[in-house]
């Protein structure tokens, strides 16, 4: 008991020491403290990028250059590494725009001197993170499936047991109950969506490479997922579902002279997946933003003196830990909600008389 208390005490002292020594070092390093642009730091993280910035050490940037794949009308396909465009460098007339409509994107200066945007299929940071998490997802699920093939009729333990528990929960409680009798064709899709979102959310929470890419907090990713759900709902819908939309069971004056209710219902067809898209995107992006902002608090207060900075470090670390725990919950919750709502929408499109 005593020893444990001593350990805690030592830990606290160590933490305090770090708190005090860090601002001191910082003030030594720069004579005039740099103005910290929190917005830029946060946005550079939650937005996509052409290089995967990992860390900065001794003034040098450690980053992973990613391939840039562009197709311009004049030159055709072009493939090169993003390190060629670092810090405003120009490669084959391509460069990263600093401002304008295409700020931050690869643009090309064509022969007439105009800035045009080529077809850009670059493997950006998010795309690379996406591929990485897809590989992990494939590995995890296929490994689980292989275990079942190797051990027929046995109950798994360990990680496979955890996977079985989650898969069974989603399959029984979300898919079967959400869709109803005709759940089978959608089972694989919804399970894939659930694990895809979950894996990407969790990998996004890991701050060090190769985690930390804000994948599910990117609107493109959630848009594709929502589009898939939209297609799954509407392509396999029953006649009754369409009847409910274009001729709903409402008083006649709401639909005949002016089709108010059909319009509302038809609008709902698109708002549901749209809400799915925005919900996932906003939740994950907000989580990343808050954690980054809390971390930036340390560097903002670095110039405000030792005491304020030390207390802010403690506050920031505590809040960041809290937010990380919350985000862990949100990561699982959002994957669950997306799957649950998708299953319910599909179930609603499967109504019979």
């Amino acid at each position: 008991m005593n020893r444990i208390q001593n350990k805690y005490l030592l830990g606290v002292i160590f933490l305090l020491f770090i708190c005090i020594s860090m601002p001191a070092k910082a003030s030594v390093a720069g004579d005039e403290p740099e103005k910290i642009n929190v917005q830029e730091i946060v946005f550079s993280h939650i937005q996509d990028a052409y290089t995967w910035h990992i860390a900065e050490w001794d003034g040098r940037e450690i980053s992973l250059p990613l391939p840039i794949l562009v197709r311009s009308e004049a030159r055709g396909w072009d493939l090169f590494l993003s390190s060629q465009l670092h810090h405003g460098k120009i490669y084959h007339n391509y460069y990263i725009a600093e401002e304008g409509d295409y700020a931050g994107k690869v643009v090309e200066r064509n022969s007439s001197g105009e800035e045009v945007k080529p077809l850009d299929l670059s493997l950006t940071k998010n795309a690379a993170g996406l591929l990485f998490s897809c590989c992990i997802l494939l590995f995890i699920v296929l490994r689980t499936a292989r275990w079942y093939k190797k051990h027929p009729g046995k109950a798994p333990g360990g990680f496979t047991g955890l996977m079985e528990m989650v898969i069974l929960f989603i399959h029984e409680k979300v898919i079967k109950e959400g869709i109803g009798k005709e759940y089978r064709p959608f089972s694989s899709y919804l399970l894939t969506v659930f694990f895809f979102i979950l894996i990407n959310n969790l990998i996004g929470l890991i701050p060090i490479f190769p985690g930390g890419a804000n994948i599910t907090g990117n609107i493109t990713i959630t848009a594709v997922l929502a589009l898939c759900t939209f297609l799954a709902v509407n392509l396999f819908a029953t006649k009754e579902y369409w009847k409910e939309i274009f001729w709903p069971n409402t008083p006649i004056f709401l639909k005949l002279p002016l089709p108010i209710m059909p319009f509302v219902e038809f609008f709902g067809v698109f708002t549901k997946p749209f809400a799915l898209m925005i919900r996932l995107f906003a939740n994950i992006m907000a989580g990343h933003t808050i954690i980054l902002a809390l971390t930036c608090l340390i560097f903002i207060t670095a110039s405000m003196g030792l005491i304020i900075n030390s207390t802010m470090i403690v506050v920031s670390v505590l809040f960041t830990i809290f937010m990380n725990c919350l985000e862990l919950l949100v990561a699982c919750l959002q994957a669950y909600i997306f799957t649950l709502l998708s299953a319910n929408y599909i179930g609603m499109a499967k109504i019979r008389e």
């Binding site: 996406l130 897809c134 093939k149 898969i167 894939t192 609107i219 990713i221």
Partner: protein, 166 residues
Amino acid sequence: MSLLTPDIGLLFWMILSFGIVFAILSKYGFPVIIKAIEQRKEYIDQSLEAARQANDQLAGIQAEGEKMLTQARERQNIILKEALAEKERIISEARQKASAETLLQQEEATRRIREEKDKAIREVRSEIADLSVAIAEKVMNEKISRTDEQEKIINGLLDKVSFSKS
């Protein structure tokens, strides 16, 4: 890059990678797992059902054994009772037979005794007749022929004598 506008490149990569992941997982991933789990569940259900049936059968067999045992006991009782009755019957029969035999023997004996007695009496009579004749001969000292008339007289006398004797 704006936050709310989808990016073509990322869209391409997302559709590609999600499509591939979905295709692979919906063929080799989740259906395999779900099928295995459902098969296992079915197997467990079947095993439970079989165990329940076996249990029922066992209970049935036990009940049957119990029934057979009681039946056997009943049979035993019946057989024992029958045997007892048979014994009684045999004994009583034997007794009856024996008593009948005894009766018969007794009758026979009495009959024979009577016959013997009659015979003896007859012999004694003839002896006595002879003796009487001899005595009479001696008494009369003359030879008297034993005619039928005389014999008749003697017999009549003897009858009287024997009557008075008996």
